[in-house]
Amino acid sequence: MRSVDVLVVGAGPAGLAIAGRLAAAGAGRVEVLDRETTAGGAPRIRRPRAGRRRAGAAERAGAVVRTGVTALGWSGPLALDTVGAGGHETITARAVVLATGARERPRTAQLVAGTRPAGVYTTGELLRAVHGYGQRIGERAVVVGAEGVSYLAVATLRTAGVAVTAMVTDLPRHQASAVRAAETRLRRMIPLLTDATVTELLGHGRLSGVRLRHRDGRTTTLACDTVVFTGDFVPDQELARRGGLALDPGTRGPAVDGAFRTSREGVFAVGNVLHAVESADAVTREGEHAARHVRDHLAGEPWPSTLPVLVEPPLRWIAPNRLAPADACGFVLRTTEVLPRPLLTVTQDGRVLHRQELPGTAVPNRPVYVVGHWVVSVDPLGGPVRVTARRG
């Protein structure tokens, strides 16, 4: 058994950012583990140099970055069991930070029926196959989803010489930047089928097509040998769950307060394990910002009790989703419906704490940011804080 001051699990942008800040601030021995053979997290797949740069910065600040090491589970409240080519090791820390990131839900978790042919991808696997290994993908693809990452899948397919037959979303519109969506549809001539769900995969051995159900009940079949399921992100929260940390039912990641504290004293969480997903830049800023709270904890600040922050439909989740009295933080949330100029209301025990009309339109799968100056008026002895939204 070995002891460190701070143990960070996950060397993605969030984990590296917090580790770098903590090491630079003299937090003692700061160690980052990653189960992959190279550090950098999700962005490293497409931009290996960005991954190396972030890892290098953390190391120069004094953090130790160890790759090829998996955190398997917990053998104490602040003790993690790890394994790597060097064998097993239990590492205890004064503070543990979970920065394990997020993944896309595959076809099976989405309960898409049909056969189990080759040619079925998530964007994550596609990116690794194309950028990591230059593997052959196929001839004609359908992309399921129309959010930012879906357009990334389209671009990657084109790089790999795969023609994209169509993009399909069960929502009434795309959820990406207007420029990107228009460019793909008009200049690349890739049609976007809205209000349509992929219900079945066809083909033995190799995919031969996908069956769609349209909102009006019609079904159609699109011929293709490749399908990419994009988006539908979920946190990689297995380590948190295995440790018995409270999870938020909305985000499905660990529940945290405004200072990134989980339900277990000494355990923090940052990055896309909290909110699947935000951009690399956003989680980097988050990691940097969270470092201060870890330092406060190491300096002996007590672990506070917290109140839940709940959302109601059409909102899907909010992060952070707990509040401690002294928290000063902003929030990010997601909606399941398209809401033009949404009117947001925050209440506690029927008392309105905050009302805000947001500019623009809230779109599913895209972040909605909410300021948190109202947090000071939360009654720490009161009931849960509720956040609702409706069309403005």
């Binding site: 998996t70 595959p106 978790a109 189990r116 290994y133 593997q135 297995e238 769950r241």
Partner: protein, 463 residues
């Protein structure tokens, strides 16, 4: 050791050729390998062993308590279960003796339980015991409300069907059996098989072609049975669901049908299924939106919390059902031919006893088996969670760091295991075969993290 995947077939005449490398064909091949003087071949249409119904079942090692008393199936399942349990222990095939509960949810099912207990006794199974509702909920606290009682069958176990088939085939090949893959029998006649890879001559033919067994049978002039594929769709739930259930939860069969079961798997997941749909298409191994919706409906009643867990995989298998209630095992001594068909829903459990029975029939028909030798025992890589996996073994990692190098994170499959599978006696024909040998890509992310890396390892070995 001979495993071929293409090119011409040997000219010499075999003593026995087995058609179909499912769990049944592989078990027969292994049984024949005990007789070193015989020249035996196992031919399979697909690129791997166990790619038919044998890969897609509910993976239960049945006691045979509910078989039709006096049937051949009843005897072979009972004997086979004992043999396979012993074989599994010596070969490293994961088995967990979790026991089964037949849970009664209404009065009709409750009144059916004593009859089932009596049937079990007729089948030589003495340990069935009735449990009242308190005891049922004490054993299965997460069961949905409304269970009226259950029949406890402590002898039912869960097993790894992939390792079982592969262990048989590995031992057979090491024992001298030729395995010819990608070799579909197009037409059969007495002593001759015309395959997609050329013609084979043989003194005896064993038809273990599963869903295709009636077609081969007709080639040889018999029409005792017709296979009607009966599809069973299944949902595999995330490993976090494993703690929700302790036993195999079997439905009580009634006039209204069989219902679905919930069972843990040796890999640490939970299975919900199967459906039972009679079809015409022998290749219809897809799941359907309707089938999955039906399973979820039924599962919600049995184990409500199960539905909150993520789904890791969905699959469907086709039972080789026939118009008969029993196995269709027939010897045609004059023709040098044994049919092993209609092995519908218990073939995994019965496989070793079926094999012994078939070899007995061959001997009866005049095949000189020659001396009987022991086979070199096999030790299969462990895929079961109840036994130490390589990443958990400091001794292995110390001897070879590749066993500490995780490639598939969800299933914790190491580079060492993938490398071993690729270099094994019967290497995988593709990613699916590699998955069945190692569990790589079989987990909750389905390849999001490791899919491309695993494919690279598989394809990298190819010239």
């Amino acid at each position: 050791m001979t495993v071929t995947t293409g090119g011409p077939l040997p000219h010499a005449t075999y003593d026995v050729v087995i058609v179909g490398a499912g769990v049944v064909g592989c078990a027969i091949a292994r049984e024949l390998a005990l007789h070193p003087r015989l020249r035996v071949a196992l031919v399979e249409a697909q690129d791997d062993v166990g790619q038919g119904t044998s890969k897609a079942n509910t993976a239960i090692l049945h006691t045979g308590f509910d078989a039709v008393p006096g049937s051949l199936e009843a005897r072979l399942v009972r004997e086979g279960a004992h043999r396979l349990a012993a074989y599994a222990a010596e070969s490293g095939i994961p088995v967990e003796p979790v026991g089964a509960l037949l849970v009664a949810w209404d009065d009709e099912q409750l009144t059916a339980l004593p009859g089932l207990a009596a049937k079990a006794e007729k089948n030589g199974y003495e340990d069935a015991r009735f449990l009242g509702p308190e005891e049922v909920y004490a054993r299965e606290p997460r069961l949905g409300p409304g269970a009226l009682g259950a029949l406890h069958i402590p002898g039912e176990s869960i097993i790894c069907p992939w390792t079982t088939t592969l262990a048989y085939a590995t031992q057979a090949v090491r024992g001298g059996v030729d395995l010819h893959l990608n070799c579909r029998v197009r037409q059969a006649g007495t002593g001759v098989l015309h395959t997609t890879r050329g013609t084979l001559h043989t003194r005896r033919i064993v038809n273990a072609a599963g869903l295709g067994s009636d077609i081969l049978d007709r080639d040889l002039g018999h029409s005792d049975f017709t296979v009607t594929p009966r599809r069973g769709q299944l949902i595999v739930f995330d490993k976090f669901a494993r703690e929700l259930v302790r036993h195999i939860l079997l439905p009580v069969p009634t006039a209204l049908g069989k219902g679905v079961l919930v069972t843990p798997t040796v890999y640490g997941n939970v299975l919900l299924g199967p459906t039972a749909e009679d079809l015409d298409d022998r290749t219809a191994t897809g799941s359907t939106p309707e089938g999955l919706a039906l399973l979820r409906d039924k599962g919600r009643r049995i184990l409500p919390d199960l539905l909150d867990e993520e789904v890791t995989a969905v699959y469907a298998g086709l039972r080789a059902a026939t118009e008969h209630d029993d196995y269709q095992i027939h010897a045609r001594h004059g023709q040098g031919y044994v049919t092993v068909g209609g092995i519908r829903s218990t073939g995994l459990s019965a496989s070793m006893a079926i094999a012994a029975h078939v070899v007995g029939l061959l001997a009866e028909g005049g095949l000189d088996l020659g001396v009987r030798d022991e086979l070199e025992p096999v030790r299969m890589p462990n895929l079961g969670e109840a036994f130490p996996r390589p990443y958990q073994r400091p001794d292995l990692i110390a001897a070879d760091p590749a066993y500490g190098n995780l490639v598939c994170h969800c299933e914790r499959v190491t580079l060492g295991e993938i490398r071993d599978a690729l270099a094994s006696t019967i290497p995988p024909g593709g990613l699916e075969g590699l998955r069945r040998r190692t569990r790589a890509r079989a987990g909750r992310c389905q390849g999001f993290h490791c899919g491309a890396a695993v494919r690279e390892l598989l394809e990298g070995r190819r010239p």
